[in-house]
Every structure is written in structure tokens, then in C-alpha cells.
């Protein structure tokens, strides 16, 4: 029996009319294109980031940097220390070699291939950034997490532990850590490890404060009270509810710290704390070595400087985009 939109609906059987009604409703509601309900915070953030030009630019830069750093052996045409063209460069006579077919970025002041050194330097720079960030993240999260957990768990004991840890963190903030690192280097001699540890230690109080703050603000949320009322043990709440929910700002900070670490490492190189090992050049060291020739051969400094600036920019853009994507205020 054909169900044309009849002039008299009562002639059509009841169940068919109901089915048509439901179908029509479903069709109309389907047009509204529901946005995925119930997706996790992180998945939502990722979706927002995919639409953000800032995040895309940052991710592209970071991806390029990481690929170059990981595959540097295969990309670099020459070794970092090979002075094949040593006879063509005379810094004291202001004779330098610019970009040419066999040396894409020209030669440095010792006649080494700039392009190869940049590519190999990418790995060293990434290494410094990652290790320093890890140092800051691990120790900072440990300190901040302990303080935050103690504060959330409460009690006189907990609050006192929190207080003590916070005073220590405050003191660490007051110390110019990079200069402490310089004193170390002045005594034990410069090395890559000193740079990484020094830069990382400088970040510890920042991570610690962030995580503690986030945990305390999470700790006063209603769901914590609800879990407590349901009889979940407090340290279990701290571990399984509060801590995971507090990691957002810390992860954003890690991304931003990768940028800071690379810049700070460059500053340490400038202060004479850089890695003296020429076979594993790092952009900061290359930059501070090239300062001397800035007026005669600016490109020697400009390449590593651009490397640092662009990479740091990439991490910063990514971190800022992530922060925006996770910000509950901007979510709607």
C-alpha cells in the first residue's frame, strides 16, 4: 500500500504513520550534525588544535626539527669536524666561503661544512632540550606532586610538609640557577652534561609550583569531595583523580620548556659553558663561536641563531596552542 502524503492521514495505518513520523524526526535532527558528546578533554583539545593555524605551524616546525635531528647521519653530507676546505677560509683576512653547490650553506671559520654542522647540531640541540626538560619535569613534578598531595590530603602533618617544600621551591626560584651553573662550569669545566643539568634544574621550581597549584585547585573540586563521601581512600583519590586531572598545565609547560631550554643552553654557551667537543656541535655553541665574525661573516651566526629561534618558536606555538585548547574558559 503506497503511503503518499495523503490528504487524509487517517486512511493510512497507524503504525506506518508512526514510523514515518519517527523517520522524519530523525532526519530533521540528523541535519543538525551533533558534535561528538562525551569525548575526553584531551581528544577535544586535539580536535581544536587541528583547526588552529598556530598549532599546525608549531607542529610542522617541531616535526621537521625532530626528523632532521633523528636522521642527521643520513641527511648531513659531511662530518661535523671534517675540514676538507680548510685552505679556502681565512677569518683573519676576512675571507669566507658562502653557499655553493657542494656546501649549501657555505663554510664556517675553520672550513667546515655549515649545512652538515647545522644538521648534526639539530640533534645536540634536541638532546639538550629534551634532557633538560626531563630533569625539570621529573624533579619538579616530584616536588610539586609531593607538596600538592600533602596539601590536598591535609592534616597538620600534610600542611607542614607542603609548607616546607614550598619554602624550598621559593628559595630555588630566588637563586639565579644559570649563574650557579656558570660557577660549576668555572670549577669543573664545561660539558654537555653541565649544560643539560643546569638548564633543567632552573626549571624545577616552575614545574613544582605549577603542579602543586593545579593539584590544590583540583583538590577543592566537588568530585573529590564526592569520591571522599563514597569512601574512596584519600591517597587513592590524590593518585587516581587529582594527579591525572592536574597534568594539563604541566604538559603545556613541558612543551614551552623545550623552547626555553634551547634558548637558555645558548646563553650558557655564550657564557663559556658550552660543549667544547667540536664533533658534536650544538647550535648555541656554534652561535657563540660565530659572534666574533658577526660583522664580517654574519651568516655564520645567523644560521644557528635562526635554527634556535625557529625551533623555539615551534615549541612555543605548539605549547600556547595546547594551552588554549585545554583552557576551559575558551572551550565554548
Amino acid at each position: 500500500m503506497p503511503t503518499t502524503p495523503s490528504t487524509n492521514p487517517s486512511q493510512v495505518p497507524l503504525h506506518q504513520r508512526r514510523a514515518a513520523k519517527v523517520d522524519r524526526l530523525a532526519e530533521l535532527m540528523g541535519e543538525r550534525g551533533d558534535e561528538g558528546h562525551g569525548a575526553g578533554v584531551w581528544r577535544e583539545a586535539l580536535q581544536r588544535m587541528r583547526r588552529s593555524p598556530m598549532a599546525i605551524t608549531g607542529a610542522a616546525i617541531v616535526a621537521l626539527f625532530v626528523v632532521v635531528a633523528l636522521l642527521s647521519e643520513f641527511i648531513a653530507p659531511y662530518g661535523a669536524t671534517s675540514q676538507t676546505w680548510g685552505g679556502e677560509v681565512f677569518p683573519n683576512r676576512n675571507e669566507f666561503v658562502g653557499p655553493r653547490a657542494e656546501n649549501w650553506l657555505g663554510l664556517d671559520h675553520l672550513g667546515r661544512d655549515m649545512f652538515s654542522r647545522m644538521v648534526i647540531g639539530a640533534r645536540q640541540t634536541l638532546l639538550v632540550g629534551v634532557v633538560a626538560t626531563l630533569v625539570g619535569f621529573l624533579f619538579g613534578a616530584l616536588l610539586g606532586g609531593a607538596a600538592g598531595a600533602c596539601s590536598v590530603l591535609g592534616g597538620r602533618w600534610g600542611r607542614q610538609v607542603d609548607n616546607v617544600v614550598m619554602r624550598v621551591i621559593d628559595m630555588m626560584l630566588a637563586m639565579p640557577t644559570l649563574l650557579l651553573a656558570v660557577t660549576v662550569a668555572a670549577l669543573v669545566g664545561p660539558s654537555l652534561t653541565t649544560v643539560m643539568v643546569a638548564v633543567g634544574v632552573a626549571q624545577i621550581p616552575i614545574f613544582a609550583r605549577l603542579l602543586r597549584g593545579a593539584m590544590i585547585s583540583q583538590g577543592s573540586r566537588e568530585y573529590v569531595l564526592a569520591a571522599e563521601a563514597l569512601g574512596v581512600r584519600r591517597h587513592r583519590i590524590a593518585l587516581t583523580h587529582i594527579l591525572p586531572n592536574s597534568m594539563g598545565p604541566v604538559i603545556v609547560q613541558s612543551t614551552l620548556t623545550l623552547a626555553t631550554a634551547i634558548i637558555d643552553a645558548a646563553a650558557l654557551s655564550y657564557l663559556g659553558l658550552g660543549n667544547p667537543d667540536a664533533s658534536s656541535p650544538e647550535w648555541g655553541t656554534m652561535l657563540s663561536e660565530a659572534q666574533r665574525f658577526l660583522s664580517s661573516a654574519p651568516s655564520l651566526a645567523v644560521y644557528p641563531a635562526l635554527g634556535i629561534i625557529i625551533t623555539a618558536l615551534g615549541f612555543t606555538l605548539l605549547g600556547e596552542a595546547l594551552r588554549e585548547a585545554l583552557d576551559p574558559k575558551l572551550r565554548k
Partner: protein
């Protein structure tokens, strides 16, 4: 009832938000109502139905970019009739605070935390009434006194965080009535307050309306507030008024299923024990575009095929005696067996079918 022209006549007001990459949202979709002097008109609906956006549109407080406002809102001012939606921004700034005033929902966040209450009251006096110095402060103290704030001179020097919630809302009301506006809009003014304070604030508003002859547009989701305060009520759903009626008929004989649903959701003291509340199913997000049919249909127990064929027209409530003041927007109004209702589907059967 009143034969004179209304103070404010809102006609087919629409507000469309444009968002980058998300298309447009019709927050208000053709709302019409009138306000009379000395009377309280209610705008009722769930959150998201467009009632706050309506008030912001009338006050000209919507963001400049990404919003399109349509329709008209004719207001009778001392210097002639004007369309609030068309006046210049400069003129609107002159009108706001002097002819139009607004009271917001959250009194704490609506007050500047770092500026003393006194300054926040006197600044409106100096802006619109040219009062300065001691005279302005005296008037500010009088205003605070009038809205029931004790020890007003001392309060002038205090900051919002030093006041209680009720006092803050009173201070905001003092600012709103400072220039004796013709029209006052109150956007859920009691939601953030305790019940006892709520009653006090509502009484204060009622008194101000009767004493000053101000027209009050009361925006609320609370039918208790409506019952106690409003003379006329507009029920909004998904950006459209679905039913408009004076207070009595609306509560006694609601026509639109949504109004019925709202009324059924209130716990009543006089209901027999054990009688279940009848909530409205789903949420305000479960709707269809008005252009396709009745937006309430997905949540309605009574909807038929006709509900899904284009926007339902506005009709007078037929079959009862309350007169022309009662109109609604439903093809199958409740308790009014129209000629186009041949199929007596029981609500229970219909909902069962959809759930299954």
C-alpha cells in the same frame, strides 16, 4: 486591557550569531512581545532558549562582531518613539542607565571588585544626571537607603566583597533605578541568592515598579518567580515565543505542551503524596530548526506529522474564554481538541514507541 500604546513593542526580534567555521546559530528566532508601564512581563524558558540574548539585544550589549540583530523594538521616549535596535551607539549609551536599566544574574561578578560601591553608584549619577561631589554622594546614599541597605553612608566606601549577596544585588538595583528609567530588565536577578533573600529582592522590585511606574522585563526560568511577580508571561523555546498569556490563564489553562511540561516540573505542596513529577524529556539541545517544524517536537509527547511540516503558526487559544491576550504556537494545543486531531494517540503510547 490597556488601550494606550505600549511602552516597548518588540516585533519579530531575531539574533543570529556567526562563528568562524561553525555556521550560524539562531539564538533568538522571531520573538514579539510588548511591555506596559507599571507592569511586569516575564520571559520564561530553560537556559539556552534565548531569553538572556533577547535582553542583551534590547540593551545593545551584544558584541559588535559576529552578531546580526533583526526585527524592531519601538520604545516610547520623552522625545518621541525610537527603535532600540536602530539607534546609534552613542545614543544608546545615553539611553542606557537613564531610560533603560538592567540588573544581572550574579551580583558578585557584576560589580567591579576594585572600585568602592559609592563610586559605582555615583558614576551613573554624574554620567546621566550631572551630579558631582557631595551632592552625588548624598544621592547615592539615598538610593542605597531606598533599596533597603542599612547604614548607607558607610557602605559607600566599602568594596563588593565586603557586602553580602543580597546587599550586592540591592546595590545593583540601586544603580539601575538611579535615573528612574522607563524600562528595567532583570536577568534572573534572584538565581544566585538564598530563598529568603530572593523573596525580599522580588518584593523590592515589585514596589519599585508600582511606585515608579517602570516597565519591568523579568527574565527567569523559575515559574515561582513568574507566579509571584509577572502580569504577562512569554514562554520561550529555542528562540521563539511558544505561548503568551496573562498570568492567570497561563497557569490555569496552558495551551502549549512545553508550558504544560514546565508547569508539570514544579513540585507542588498541594499535590497528593506520591504523585510523580512529570519532567520534560531530553534537553534544550534536542531540537530541530523552526524552519522544519516545531522545535519542541523531539521532546513532545503529542507531536504528529503536522508538527514536522514547516513552522507552526501563532494562533489564539481557542475554546476558552480568556480572550485575545492568550496566544500560542502549537498545532495540537493541550486540552483543546481541534478539528485537525483525528487520531487520539495517548502520550504514553507515543513515548513508549519512541523509546523502544
Amino acid at each position: 486591557m490597556t488601550t494606550s500604546t505600549p511602552l516597548l513593542a518588540v516585533d519579530e526580534l531575531s539574533v543570529v550569531f556567526h562563528r568562524k567555521g561553525q555556521g550560524e546559530t539562531r539564538a533568538v528566532d522571531g520573538v514579539s512581545f510588548t511591555l506596559e508601564e507599571g507592569r511586569v512581563t516575564g520571559l520564561v524558558g530553560e537556559s539556552g532558549c534565548g531569553k538572556s540574548v533577547t535582553s542583551l539585544a534590547l540593551m545593545g550589549l551584544l558584541p559588535d562582531r559576529g552578531v546580526k540583530v533583526g526585527g524592531s523594538a519601538l520604545i516610547r521616549l520623552p522625545d518621541g518613539e525610537q527603535d532600540l535596535l536602530k539607534v546609534s551607539q552613542r545614543r544608546m549609551r545615553d539611553l542606557r542607565g537613564s531610560q533603560l536599566a538592567m540588573i544581572f544574574q550574579d551580583p558578585l561578578s557584576s560589580l567591579n571588585p576594585v572600585v568602592p560601591i559609592g563610586v559605582q553608584v555615583t558614576e551613573i549619577l554624574s554620567r546621566h544626571r550631572g551630579m558631582r561631589g557631595a551632592a552625588a554622594r548624598r544621592e547615592a546614599a539615598d538610593l542605597l537607603q531606598r533599596v533597603g541597605i542599612p547604614d548607607p553612608t558607610r557602605r559607600l566606601g566599602e568594596y563588593p566583597h565586603q557586602l553580602s549577596g543580597g546587599m550586592r544585588q540591592r546595590a545593583l538595583i540601586a544603580m539601575a533605578v538611579a535615573c528612574r528609567p522607563k524600562l528595567m530588565i532583570a536577568d534572573e536577578p534572584t538565581t544566585a541568592l538564598d530563598v529568603t533573600i530572593q523573596a525580599q529582592i522580588l518584593e523590592l522590585l515589585r514596589d519599585l515598579v508600582t511606585e515608579e511606574g517602570t516597565a519591568l522585563l523579568m527574565i527567569t526560568h523559575d515559574l515561582g518567580v513568574v507566579a509571584g511577580l509577572c502580569d504577562e508571561i512569554n514562554v520561550l523555546y529555542a528562540g521563539k515565543a511558544v505561548e503568551t498569556a496573562p498570568r492567570g490563564p497561563l497557569f490555569a489553562d496552558p495551551a502549549h505542551p512545553y508550558t504544560v511540561g514546565l508547569l508539570g516540573s514544579i513540585p507542588r505542596l498541594d499535590a497528593p503524596r506520591g504523585e510523580p513529577l512529570t519532567p520534560v524529556r531530553g534537553s534544550v539541545n534536542d531540537n530541530i530548526a523552526w524552519a522544519d517544524g516545531c522545535a519542541f517536537a523531539p521532546r513532545c509527547d503529542h507531536y504528529t506529522m503536522e508538527c514536522l511540516q514547516g513552522p507552526p503558526p501563532l494562533v489564539g487559544a481557542s475554546g476558552d474564554e480568556e480572550g485575545p491576550g492568550h496566544i500560542h504556537r502549537c498545532v495540537n494545543p493541550v486540552g483543546r481538541a481541534g478539528p485537525d486531531r483525528p487520531e487520539p494517540e495517548t502520550p504514553a503510547a507515543a513515548s513508549e514507541e519512541e523509546r523502544g
